[in-house]
Point group: C2
Chain length 389, copies 2
């Protein structure tokens, strides 16, 4: 298998993009990435598109050739495929693309992620969010995705003494970071009091503990490492890409406070890259809910089980800490267009490793991690990226 590098990145603003269609935002991100990669369409081998719910959101399936077509790339009859795994769709598409290039079968491919959540009523979009949980055994009984994550939060508080304030600090951090990201859905800062006093969604989680429903698209171009320097002075190598799955329904898990899929994917990823969590300077992790981020930091191995709340509050995961987490603002502030999330995480990590992240730059970042979750963790994907000098 060949070494694979990211040689181009692109991303739209995340937010309520009412003036632009799904296909428009998909194309904008993809073409940005192609230009950034100095790749002509003639060199492109295929498209892998992460998207969760275009069928229910847009009455449109079969969207990978649609994006290829509207980008003006149908003429070469390239392969295009959509990949879906709930909120982890984008990083699953990246995994398939990484495999395709690593195999030697494809040279250069685009990985896109796109979702348009604000063209339907909020209640519809919220319902669609829950279609990543187990419909027959969770959703029909009234459980929503935030309600399921609230169960995880309650148990984490009970078992490890995690506090309501510690959860809230995750949101404060996210908005602090988002304020420096021009692509972020939310650029306003939040105070601890604002988070704590916000109306409840599913207790203990309030409105500001939950990531928004966003429109947005992101794209990266992958190519073999040995051709990458023809396209960029700073190829960013994908040193690990690992997918792991767990039970759909929470009730079948041994421990509510840990996502075994994240634990497995992270262990395999660090082994694949011959790295450990201490080598990572910057990480984009799944914070669809504030509790998600704390659980992720533990499951990824950045902190001991049960300690994430206090360590987060101590500033360990803020700029200047051991690892800077979610410099993009994460799902909470940058936004949460399902299928685009995993790709946008990699876009941010690549910008950080290239030293192009401006105001939010993590100094001397050489190793980065992206962590994407579907539902309550039936799918987790961990990607490790490194700057190669």
């Amino acid at each position: 298998m060949r070494d694979v590098a990211v040689i181009g990145v692109g991303q739209t603003k995340f937010g309520e993009l009412w003036d632009r269609s799904f296909r428009e935002i998909g194309i904008e991100a993809g073409l940005q990435a192609l230009v950034d990669a100095k790749l002509s369409s003639g060199d492109l081998g295929g498209l892998f598109l992460g998207n969760m719910a275009s069928g229910t959101l847009l009455d449109q399936e079969h969207i990978a050739p649609l994006i290829l077509d509207y980008a003006g790339l149908a003429g070469r009859r390239l392969p295009a495929v959509r990949v879906e795994g709930g909120g982890a769709s984008g990083s699953l598409a990246l995994h398939q693309a990484w495999l395709a290039v690593a195999s030697g079968y494809y040279d250069f491919v685009v990985v896109g992620g796109a979702e348009k959540l604000t063209d339907v009523p909020d209640a519809t979009a919220a319902q669609i969010t829950s279609s990543a949980a187990d419909h027959e055994w969770e959703v029909v009984f009234g459980a929503t995705l935030p309600a399921l994550w609230a169960l995880i939060a309650r148990r984490h508080m009970h078992q490890y003494g995690t506090t309501r304030e510690e959860l809230a600090r995750v949101a404060v951090h996210a908005h602090e970071m988002g304020s420096k990201n021009p692509n972020a859905h939310f650029r306003n800062k939040l105070s601890l009091e604002q988070v704590l006093n916000a109306g409840p969604v599913a207790e203990p989680l309030g409105v500001f503990d939950c990531a928004p429903l966003s429109d947005g698209a992101a794209a990266v171009v992958l190519g073999p490492m040995d051709l990458a320097r023809q396209h960029t002075d700073t190829p960013i190598q994908i040193t690990a890409s690992q997918v792991a799955c767990d039970t759909m329904a929470l009730q079948h898990r041994e421990d509510l406070t840990t996502l075994d899929s994240t634990v497995s994917a992270a262990r395999r990823a660090f082994a694949q890259a011959h790295r450990d969590p201490r080598d990572v300077q910057v990480a984009e992790i799944h914070d669809a809910y504030t509790i998600s981020a704390l659980v992720a930091l533990e499951d990824l191995g950045f902190v001991k089980k049960g300690h994430a709340g206090r360590e987060f509050a101590s500033g360990r995961f803020a700029p200047g800490g051991a690892v800077t987490v979610n410099p993009s603002g994460g799902l909470k502030a940058q936004g949460r267009p399902f299928g685009a999330v995993g790709v946008a995480q990699v876009v941010e990590i690549v910008r950080q490793l290239r030293g192009e992240a401006k105001e939010r730059q993590v100094p001397e970042a050489m190793v980065g991690l992206a962590h994407d979750v579907g539902g309550t963790g039936a799918t987790s994907v961990v990607t490790l990226l490194e700057r190669v000098n």
Copy 2:
């Protein structure tokens, strides 16, 4: 890249399976394939699942880990991914799985395809069928998938003199074949008169020119050729797997009577396998509408452009002819559970190449082809399979 073989196959009955859920049929097909492959779950590396529309049909996305979970396989935290490309979802999943094994990264994987179309009203299912066409430029103006294929039929009749009777003979053949397939949705034979006198759907296509809406699932196990003989005496090698995409909307095609995506995928596949159409004894081709089969036979290179109607009527594609087409009954008679179709095609070809197809066995079949289409051909997938002695 390694040679890849199919070492196990499984399939449920296709039809109106009201007594069984999506997850149940998915598991039935998958476990059949694992047993057929003499593979213990401990040897399994991952799951690739083809499905078009579980979100709109079942309010359930994120279905790959769901099937893994309900098959009792969540414990090993395997990777599972859903692949979607309209009606070609199943063969796209096969393509991703082939790539995964060929790369050397995975050894044994299951490719599943499943769809449950009869749990929603027929009108809903029909509408979902059209979500594989271009929603913004075709469907909102009233075009349905059969209407779009009817345009192709009209143009083919105008340009090449194809007759209404020639179209109808495709359906007669499909039901003749389906009558020998215990898994087929329809096992009744149809006379030419019945097809010609059926009510119109989108003229010239009548009810019996259109494949049904079916429930069903199919699965195959792939493994590296060099390990295949530990599992089966008759490994069937995948000698080519090619995907090609075209414009979504018909109005952007140069020629309505040909699917350029099929032409490209077929050319690449025959080049990859060092074969040509004359080497093929048995083919499962896309016959969602009778015209689809005629166009496919031409685009795949089995017959000169414009001649498929007459050659089909002459018996060239029936048992005893040059190539036996759709011995399973095809989409028309075996059934059309979108995401399962492409996988079921490969199941049938493998059974034919193994010599296990009983009443519908094509004598001395050594090379087989499967051809799967999404929408009106924005995606085509061509797979070549060979028995290796």
